[in-house]
Amino acid sequence: MSSRPRIKETPVTMDTFLKGIWEENPVFVMLLGMCPVLAVTNSTINALAMGIATTFVLLGSSALVSLLRRGIPKQVRIATYIIIIATFVTIVDYLIQAISLELYNALGAFIQLIVVNCMILGRAESYASRNNVTKSVVSALGMGAGFTIALLCLGTVREILGAGTLLGFPLFGADFEPWVVMILPPGGFFVLGSWLLIFALLKQRKTKMEELTRAH
């Protein structure tokens, strides 16, 4: 991730894919779609499921919007995008119910609330409506992966600290007293805040290094 391609020789599609993961990460950089990020990341498995569900919706809606982009009239484009997104969310909703009711109950209304995830509408409006299908799909995959990675970053930290487990398996001995607050709502805010702090720190250090090398 850290070695992002800058040189032209890497194919454009690789760059489009990686952009979503690092440079334009929807959660850590663009701060989009915060509600599910905070709400369903109290365990790793929930975070992973939510990430995959969101990626599926993003992929489907990006492909369809891109396919129909010449036919969609400007005046009603937002309404059209929302209908397309809602269609894919309904599909995901039923698929998850068919796969596991337990997972469905754990994620609650946040599956249906993928509809109003600003990231998806934002991608439809700013990317899929202007690029061809292949490019949109690759970019959607990248964005989805970036979103999933971000959710996992929160989910694992919150589960390890808040419950002392990872994917349900206990990590520490019986003596470990879990920080219950981490799987409660405040923990979501704190962990995401801490991640942002870490990224800000990394960025600051990097700019300093660059300045130093330039000075030499």
């Binding site: 369809l64 209908i83 309904t90 009711l101 219950v180």
Partner: protein, 232 residues
């Protein structure tokens, strides 16, 4: 407005195009949604059936078979898609005899409402088990209501005897402070999760006070119905 100016013409063309696109998208959407709905419906129904079945077998330990009934206006009917009323699940043991009935109960917990399924055995006039279906209780504290084994042991044989007139419970089910349980109809609360424990007690009491007096005469109906099933 009799002559159509070019601008208006392009407007109508635009509108026609707009309507055409929207219809197309609505059709694609509708097709996709209906297709998924139809394909996943049997799977979802099966998942739900398994979830209900597991819950029933948990709260009525002897049950190996079950049947859903609906209670409305003092009448008990075999549940179908159209019957309305409170769902009552009857569990049958290996011999095909009634092993107990199960029903849902609700009360306001610490965070949100707690929904649970409880089993009732008419032979011992007691509650034989509970299963929390939905709760948002605090992890580590309130969620002990389905993790704390001592608390769950309360519901292995919790007395729910009707009074002489069969109009209410003889002794209301009540949650008492941890370690102060003296009577078979009392629930020993979890220390540190009193609100959640009390909510479980309240849910059981509310539901049992309402349901058991109404069910007492219906039990024979269930027995008869199951007999008819056997003879078929």
């Amino acid at each position: 407005m009799s002559t159509v100016t070019p601008a208006q013409n392009s407007n109508t063309q635009n509108s026609a195009k707009m309507i055409k696109t929207l219809t197309l998208i609505a059709m694609i959407s509708g097709l996709l949604v209906v297709l998924t709905f139809e394909l996943t419906r049997p799977l979802i129904a099966e998942n739900q059936r398994i979830a209900v079945e597991q819950a029933i077998y948990q709260v009525i330990p002897e049950a190996v078979d079950w049947q859903e009934y609906r209670l409305s206006d003092g009448k008990l009917l075999v549940a179908s898609e159209t019957t309305e009323g409170i769902s009552i699940y009857a569990g049958f043991n290996q011999a095909g005899a009634l092993a107990g009935i199960a029903s849902e109960a609700v009360a306001q917990g610490y965070a949100d409402s707690i929904r649970l399924l409880y089993g009732y055995n008419p032979a011992c006039e007691c509650i034989t088990g509970i299963k929390i279906l939905k709760s948002a209780e605090t992890p580590g504290l309130g969620d002990k209501i389905f993790k704390d084994l001592d608390f769950i042991a309360n519901f292995k044989a919790l007395e729910a005897k009707l009074n002489g007139e069969q109009s209410a419970l003889e002794n209301a089910i009540i949650t008492v402070k941890h370690g102060e349980k003296t009577q078979p109809w009392q629930i020993d609360a979890i220390s540190g999760a009193t609100v959640s424990s009390r909510a479980v007690g309240k849910a059981l009491n509310d539901s049992a006070q309402y349901l058991l007096p109404r069910m007492v005469n219906q039990l024979t109906t269930i027995k008869q119905m199951s007999m008819e099933d056997e003879t078929k």
